[in-house]
Amino acid sequence: MAGGAGGGETIMSTREFAAHESHAHAAPQGFIRKWVFSLDHKVIGLQYYFLALTAVFVGMFLSLLMRIHLIWPAVALPLFGEIKPETYLSLLTMHGTIMVFFVLTTAPQGGFGNYFLPIQIGAADMAFPVLNMLSFWVTFLAYAVMLSAFFVTGGAPLHGWTGYPPLSALPSAGPGEGAGADLWVISIALFCIGALMSALNFITTTLDMRVKGMSMMRMPLTCWAWFITAILGLLAFGVLFSAGILLLLDRNVGTSFFVPLVTVNGILAAHKGGSPLLWQHLFWFFGHPEVYIAILPAMGLCSQLVSVFSRKPIFGYKAMVYAMLSIGLLGFMVWGHHMFMSGMSPYTAFAFSLMTMAIGVPSAIKTFNWLGTLWGGRIRFSSPMLFAIGFVSMFVSGGISGPFLAQPVLDIPLHDTAFVTGHFHLIMGVASIFGIFAATYYWFPKMFGRMMSESMARWHFCLTFVGTYCIFMPMHYAGMAGQPRRYSQFTELHYLAPLIRLNTFITFAAFITIAAQFIFLFNLFWSMKYGKKASDNPWEATTLEWTTATPPPHDNFGGRTPVVYNGPYEYSVPGAPRDYVMQTDTTTVAAH
């Protein structure tokens, strides 16, 4: 029933009381308290969202420069001049880092999770509003530090977003490996602190702040996804933080955690006995769960949208919950599949490969359930649904190359080739971004009180959907033909020459796809001012955010506390007056 799982009546009422006490803060008046150092989870959610929005355009711009350099290496760009091979690697490093941390981790969880988790479970705010504010501002600081790496002597680091030492540990190993690399590590460590605080907040909020009637198994799948993502974050970011500190010590204090005896350009470095593989284990122990941190919120959201817009209950709610839980659990046991070619014992590859194949099973279950939800539905093709269907398509396409890379023998030809780049961009990049787009179109009316333009959204969807396929599907072909990742030119190896045409095609596809994103940007800001006024429940959805005013008041429900009587996906219930039954409707749906 109410409160946390288990516990007697007395304990529950104390909890409710305590929760109420700590959230009785009045709406702030001044600009600074209201919009800058705000304690309101909705404002913090928007802050995270707009941070991610600037980050995604920075990251996209970097990829544009990379694609130009790959095809026209000698061209002098306005303001930039000619891009050198080391600049290309800096662009690549910063593109990956910014996209993974400040977009894919920030927008779905920090942005939409912050805004809608409390409302969807009927709470007035997150459990710890001050901690929430702190999480955002630490993340903001991390972002500022990351961007500053562009402007120091030597520029941004060139060691890739994975930062493998010794390259990332030795200032002499390349341009950008001096101050730029220090700033990179510091930024990531800061980001980890923000993410850890945020994870604690999400977990506590989900467990303790649910209103009466909102049992765990009545939570929308979005809430389940944010909850599981927070648990992954709590367990993963601590490890990355430690690894980052050790790397910082190696770089600046002369320790040798990751660096053995090495000579760079004939000069003996002052290190001895460290293990480069240790970093890889620590990094990927974080790095693989990170993939799920990026995509689980999108999975939860798309489950929600497929149900809402098919006007059908989600197919297999429990199966979806168990699938997400097992993805979360198995996600911590597969990190070694990034290291099949690393020099790690070939015997461990057996175990990691088996676990990786096993994690494909819950992913497949989710796909079947999405298709099962569409089956027999009455699909409304509103903009959020287009992106949800796009997500399913991308998830399948990106997922299908997983079982190739999960086999150590196939990693012999494929590891560190463009095949991998295509794989993770489709599943972790594009699929997650489609989740962010879907969430934006879906919740924009609630957040800003107006509808986004549907015709612009359709153009945006079609161009992005076709464009991203044209960018990332050919990368699989190039990878099979042996094109290594992170090459700034294809001119040195003769066998790469025939692939230049394919890469030219990718670059043109990138131009079009990037241009299409400005339709989205325009639609976003134009609709804030000129969009059609939204009603409180424009999509005729059932969850709690659609029961409150648009935009929601400071305490979310205007002094009322909702009580939940139904599951989150009661659409087209036979005998019901409308084709949807709100979670708060007292005409309960028979248990099933």
Partner: protein, 268 residues
């Protein structure tokens, strides 16, 4: 919009699949003993995953069109799912994925679990920013000592590896920039790196292994076709990563012996 989705998804699926099936771009022609097994496993995975890919995308497109809201009064099917179906597709996927894993594991074991055969040709491969060096033990069959403090990358050759010329075993060691090996004989590679991580990637040999500073990694492969094969670096190693390449020349045993003797004579 349902029809648009159907057409777009189907077209993308058909176009993507066409280029795979037509093998417009494919794995380079294999020239080693392990190529057949790896390529076979690749083909099986490709067929199975290809079927799943095409089926899932076609169904997605079809459902989007078929179950579009036609404004009729017939409501959507009210169903919370079907446990039997959940069990069926869980078990089927499990069998498919774990089956693939077990099949490939046996190939992996034969590639990586056994050491090189006793008669294998030994070549020490060293990666450094941004070149590959190859060392042969010479007539004595022993690699001489190397010392990090003697390394001089700019001098190239023996000096780049820091070969200690005072060691008797080092006197007949050969250091080259091109890798020669005889055909149809196993090659044992001892893989090292001086500065950062590199990765020794010979696509035609179906060979890839990271070279890690501080480790000497032993691997083997057997070239089966004579010819010249390009060597790439597959691990980001710094600004010259894209141009860190080398050449593997697979020649007959006689030619290999002749080449080795000539180089040895040059050196003495």
């Amino acid at each position: 919009m349902g029809l648009v989705l159907l057409i777009v998804i189907w077209l993308i699926t058909i176009a993507s699949t066409y280029f795979f099936v037509a093998k417009t771009w494919w794995l380079p022609v294999g020239a080693s003993a392990s190529a057949a097994g790896i390529d076979h496993q690749f083909a099986i995975t490709f067929i199975l995953m290809g079927i799943v890919f095409v089926a899932a995308q076609l169904i997605l497109g079809l459902f989007a069109w078929k179950y579009r809201d036609r404004g009729s009064s017939s409501p959507a099917r009210y169903s919370h799912g079907n446990n039997m179906l959940e069990i069926v597709w869980t078990v089927l996927t499990f069998i498919l994925f774990v089956g693939l894993n077990l099949m490939s594991s046996s190939i992996w074991a034969s590639e990586r679990f056994r050491p090189a055969e006793p008669g294998a040709v030994q070549v020490e491969v060293t990666g450094m920013q941004f070149a590959w060096y190859f060392r042969y033990a010479g007539p004595d069959g022993k690699f001489g000592a190397t010392k990090p403090e003697l390394e001089d990358a700019s001098a190239g050759g023996e000096a780049a590896l820091g070969l200690d010329t005072s060691d008797p075993a080092a006197r007949d060691d050969l250091v080259t920039g091109t890798m020669y090996v005889p055909v149809n004989r196993e090659v044992e590679i001892i893989l090292r790196a001086h500065d950062v991580i590199h990765s020794f990637f010979v696509p035609a040999m179906r060979f890839k292994q990271d070279a890690v500073p501080g480790l000497a990694i032993r691997m083997h492969f057997t070239p089966t076709t004579t010819g010249d094969y390009e060597i790439a670096c597959a691990e980001l190693c710094g600004l010259g990563h894209y141009k860190m390449h080398g050449m593997l020349k697979v020649v007959s045993q006689e030619e290999f012996d002749k080449w080795l003797a000539a180089r040895e004579a040059e050196k003495q």
